[in-house]
């Protein structure tokens, strides 16, 4: 029950949150907070009290019989990679909770139910060592996520939610087919029917179909990642999702794709991966450049961040298929760093939207004047995301590039182009939004027309007119038009920033922790690099 408890806590917390709504509308978010803190505490106690078995890759292992008929087990294992990603999940969950705290005001119980179940699904994905179990969690995390987007999202939420779900489901179906095909071929070759990762990894299948099975897995993960041709769901989903959901999407959900490739694709299909590697690397480079270009041409802040995610996750893909230790470490590092920085950026965009009711770069500029703290944070994270040395993102991208250079120099060179483009769009975003004279156009709150209306209403004696116009807007208080960051928001952003800095200046413990799991992954490949 050690590991499954980790999944059960948020599941039960979610149910409790839903149920508690009937008593007090504010109860659900408190319960969620306690649930997340409880999970964190639990995982902390777990890792601190148990002796970290350095000799084995696996820190914890737990297995229950599930579906006897197919020898499917509920098998959970945790190694360094999972541990790090679960920690990321919980921490970013907290960040998302912080942004949800004030933003979500309708149907709170159901919101936190979905929120916690998504997190539980993601934790399950990071822990599941049985392929079917993995698939189940993979799909299960989507349904609550779908609800999050479809109910609490912005103006075009239905379309976005549907697109998100259809894309990931199509990928999921392919994965299901591939999983079963893998198991069937494995069975035919070894006579052992098992969906268990630990069993399958021992004897990678030799059939020529492996290439296609592998492709099925890769596509499923690429959709989630998302890489270039499979990305169209992402900008919509990110844009339309409520901020907490955007944070979860960008910070954690995308990482499951990278995790899947590292955990399953690489060790299970050594030959096929070699075969696909060039194609995948070129896709990665395409994603990097395409994402950056698209980010440059957007004027919706959330879309910019979303496309920058495409670009950044391209590095993860590049790292994964470079097939050496440095690149893999880089990829994981990039995943973490991107998780932190994009979460923070989405949160910031959410804050801006909360205040200005717009995310459109054309609608406002010069925010620095009224929101110095917010803008400073924005500046910091934008720079982090463009890969400023000393921060986590730099380490990740650098390691990936080094690793890729070892494998395919040309790809690395092209990918580094992405770095430059990244700088361009990040700086454009900063420049357009934070600097320059303060103005807002067309946003609800500061619409000149509405101000005029209000004036008319104030001067008019007609009750009708005032009754009609009065609810339109509150008269802006000129002294402090919009509040700057609150303490809670400040705290959250600061801790994320601290995390990024920590990753940037002292990544070594993390890299050490990753070494053993990644070495296991690469054990089947001839080329293995050494840790930095």
């Amino acid at each position: 029950m050690t590991l499954s408890l980790l999944i059960l806590i948020p599941l039960l917390g979610g149910l409790l949150a839903w149920y508690s709504q009937g008593f007090n509308p504010n109860l659900p978010r408190r319960i969620s907070l306690f649930t997340l803190l409880g999970s964190l505490a639990y995982i902390g106690i777990l890792t601190l009290t148990s002796p970290l078995a350095r000799s084995s890759q696996w820190l914890f292992d737990e297995s229950h019989v599930w579906i006897d008929r197919f020898n499917i087990t509920a098998h959970f294992s945790m190694d360094g990679l999972s541990l790090i990603l679960i920690l990321l999940t919980l921490l970013m969950g907290l960040a998302a909770l912080s942004s949800a705290w004030s933003e979500i005001d309708k149907h709170q119980g159901f919101f936190y139910f979905n929120f916690l179940w998504t997190l539980a699904g993601i934790i399950g994905v990071f822990l599941a060592m049985d392929l079917l179990l993995f698939f189940v969690f993979w799909e299960v995390m989507l349904v609550p996520m779908y609800f999050l987007i479809a109910i609490w999202g912005h103006e075009n939420r239905r379309y976005a939610a549907l697109k998100f779900f259809l894309f990931t489901q199509a990928g999921g179906l392919l994965m299901l087919l591939s999983t079963i095909a893998l198991v069937v071929f494995h069975y035919q070759e070894t006579g052992q029917l098992s969906f268990n990762y630990h069993v399958l990894i021992l004897a990678p299948i030799a059939s020529p179909t492996a290439i296609w099975i592998c492709l099925g897995f890769i596509i499923a993960f690429l959709v989630k990642l998302p890489a270039f041709p499979f990305h169209p769901w992402l900008p919509d989903a990110h844009t339309q999702a409520p901020t907490p959901a955007s944070i979860i999407l960008a910070a954690i959900l995308l990482k499951t794709g990278g995790y899947g490739i590292i955990r399953f694709v690489l060790p299970l299909f050594p030959d096929a991966v070699q075969f696909w590697s060039p194609l995948m690397m070129s896709l990665a480079v395409l994603s990097i450049i395409y994402g950056a270009l698209m980010a440059f041409s957007q004027h919706d802040l959330k879309r910019i961040v979303a496309y920058s995610s495409v670009s950044h996750m391209g590095f993860v893909l590049l790292g994964c298929f470079s097939l050496n230790m440095i690149a893999l470490q880089g990829a994981v590092m990039q995943m973490l760093a991107h998780g932190l920085s994009s979460a923070a950026l989405f949160m910031l965009v959410g804050l801006i939207q909360q205040r200005l009711h717009s995310r459109d770069l054309h609608q406002f500029s010069g925010l620095w004047r009224y929101f110095p703290q917010l803008s400073a944070m924005g500046l910091f994270f934008a720079i982090a995301s463009l890969g400023m040395p000393g921060l986590g993102n730099f380490i990740g991208e650098f390691l990936v590039l080094v690793g890729a250079l070892e494998q395919h120099a040309s790809f690395a060179v092209l990918a580094s182009l992405g770095l430059i483009l990244g700088a361009v769009y990040s700086l454009r975003m900063i420049q357009k939004s934070f600097f320059g004279p303060f103005q807002t156009r067309g946003s609800d709150l500061d619409d000149p027309a509405s101000t005029v209306d209000t004036e008319i209403a104030l001067t008019s004696t007609s009750d009708q007119v005032s009754a009609k116009v009065a609810p339109l807007s509150k008269p802006p208080t000129l002294s402090s038009p919009y509040p700057d960051l609150s303490l809670k928001e400040k705290l959250t952003l600061m801790s994320i920033a601290a995390g990024l800095i920590l990753l940037g200046i002292h990544p070594q413990p993390l890299l050490d922790m990753l070494e053993q799991p990644l070495a296991q992954v690469l054990a089947l490949y001839a080329i293995t690099g050494s840790a930095l």
């Binding site: 149907h107 779900f165 489901q169």
Partner: protein
């Protein structure tokens, strides 16, 4: 006479008693109770027969699989029956005969599931079809119902004629009416009939059964019938009639030499793929719930049809040919359970025909909306629902049989299907302008909804019990 005949016997005597009681004194509650006693009795007996040893007679064959499927069917019928009283009590028709027709239809279905002879198959089929005509046209004052009834009559009679033609040709060729006549008499070609009549006979039968299962080239009018019939009838039609027809199709397939006839296999593969795609594509454009269900059922049977291609496949999971059967039965039952749930919810949401009327249901009646969402997810095959396990079995069997190209269409069709299942959920999530207060559900509706949710999620999450039973039954 083995005690395998007992469930059908119970049904038959219930029919007679009910008929007599209606003749002597009309009373809705009596009719309801008599039907219930009969159905539950038959159901219990059938469940206890699952473990009984298999026997085969000339007309009927009783295997554990049959027993399981019949038991599943009867359980579903009992479940539907439990909601019938409330539904019928509101209409101003006389209600007693509805139970009568329900019972005759179920008697037909139960005997059809066990038949292994063309004569018994044909009689059972007609018993069922003709009862359905009555059930569909039951609403006295509703012209839609009459129209659906006449359409069903023409369709089913046409289908019967086609099936009969097929049977006649096979009989002419082989001189026997048993399902396995084709395989045993294959070599003994008649001098007087130079044609090879068996293949054409099979195609006739297949076409007829396609009408009964409303598979693609024969899906004419099916949505009209679904929509026009009274709702409980639609449920029965979608569940009882299709389930039994499919079981019979499977048995004909596994007994005759059909599996080795490449023409037939090609036709089936084509029908399967076309049904999957066209069913889902047609459902995309629909705005009315029952039409969506009608078309989605076409595609689900398209998926199931793939299983027929596997019956004689040599590559199979666990090197075990009966795994395919297991997968088929699982999918069939899973789909039927989901469908039953869906219709139950629809029966609770009376007068809801268009999906627009579902708008905002999540905020009005959260329990029902949750229930319907779970069911839609199950139909779409999302994990942790029973529908997913069904799909898992299906895909596992199909991949073991290396049916790659139908599989690829399955993926495409599933994604299309996902779209309209999600659309229903999406509409329920829409916020309604009118601040409607949640309606109070009575205890019956609550219990029904919970039973559905727990079954669909429960079996979907922990399918082991079910799977083990299925494994035991199919071996």
């Amino acid at each position: 006479m083995s005690n395998h005949y007992l469930p059908a016997g119970i049904l038959l005597s219930t029919i007679l008693i009910l008929l007599l009681s209606i003749a002597l004194k009309r009373s809705h509650i009596h009719a309801f109770l008599i039907t219930g006693v009969g159905l539950i009795g038959a159901c219990l007996v059938q469940v206890s027969l699952i473990e009984a040893p298999a026997t085969s007679e000339l007309l009927f064959i009783f295997t554990p699989v049959n027993a399981l499927v019949s038991a599943g069917l009867l359980v579903i019928l009992v479940f539907l029956w439990s909601q019938l009283y409330h539904w019928l009590d509101k209409s101003d028709n006389t209600n007693e005969e509805y139970y009568l027709l329900l019972l005759t239809a179920s008697l037909g279905a139960v005997s059809m599931i066990a038949s292994q002879h063309f004569a018994s198959f044909f009689l059972a089929l007609e018993l069922m079809s003709l009862s359905f005509v009555g059930l569909i046209a039951y609403s006295n004052n509703n012209p839609n119902s009459q129209e659906a009834g006449i359409k069903y009559l023409v369709l089913s009679a046409g289908a019967s004629a086609l099936i009969l033609m097929g049977i006649a040709l096979i009989y002419l060729q082989t001189g026997s009416l048993t399902f396995d006549a084709v395989s045993t008499n294959k070599l003994q070609h008649l001098a007087s009939s130079p044609l090879n009549l068996t293949t054409s006979g099979m195609i006739f039968i297949l076409t007829g059964l396609c009408f009964k299962l409303s598979l693609v080239p024969c899906h004419l009018w099916v949505a009209d019938i679904f929509e026009g019939a009274p709702l409980p009838t639609t449920a029965l039609l979608a569940i009882v009639s299709k389930l039994s027809a499919f079981i019979v199709l499977w048995r004909m397939f596994s007994y005759g030499e059909w599996q080795t006839d490449s023409t037939i296999l090609d036709v089936i593969a084509l029908v399967a793929v076309a049904s999957m795609l066209i069913g889902n594509l047609l459902a995309l454009q629909q705005d009315r719930l029952l039409r969506i269900l009608a078309f989605s059922s076409i595609s689900h049977f398209g998926y199931l049809l793939i299983m027929l291609l596997l019956l004689e496949g040599n590559a199979s999971l666990l090197n075990d040919i009966s795994f395919n059967l297991e997968a088929m039965v699982f999918y069939l039952l899973a789909y039927m359970i989901t469908l039953t749930g869906t219709f139950s919810v629809l029966m609770q949401l009376e007068n809801t025909t268009s999906i627009k009327q579902l708008s905002g249901l999540f905020w009005r009646q959260p329990l029902q909306a949750t229930c319907l969402s779970v069911l839609m997810l199950s139909l779409a095959g999302i994990p942790l629902t029973i529908g997913f396990m069904g799909k898992f079995y299906l895909v596992a069997a199909a991949i073991s049989g290396q049916l790659w190209w139908p599989m690829s269409f399955l993926v495409i069709a599933s994604v299309i299907g996902l779209y309209f299942y999600l659309r229903i959920i999406m509409i329920m999530l829409a916020k309604t302008e009118s601040a409607s207060v949640p309606c109070k559900l009575d205890i019956r509706e609550k219990v029904t909804s919970w039973v559905i949710i727990i079954t669909v999620i429960g079996v979907g999450t922990f399918p082991s019990v079910f799977a083990d039973m299925l494994e035991a039954v199919t071996h």
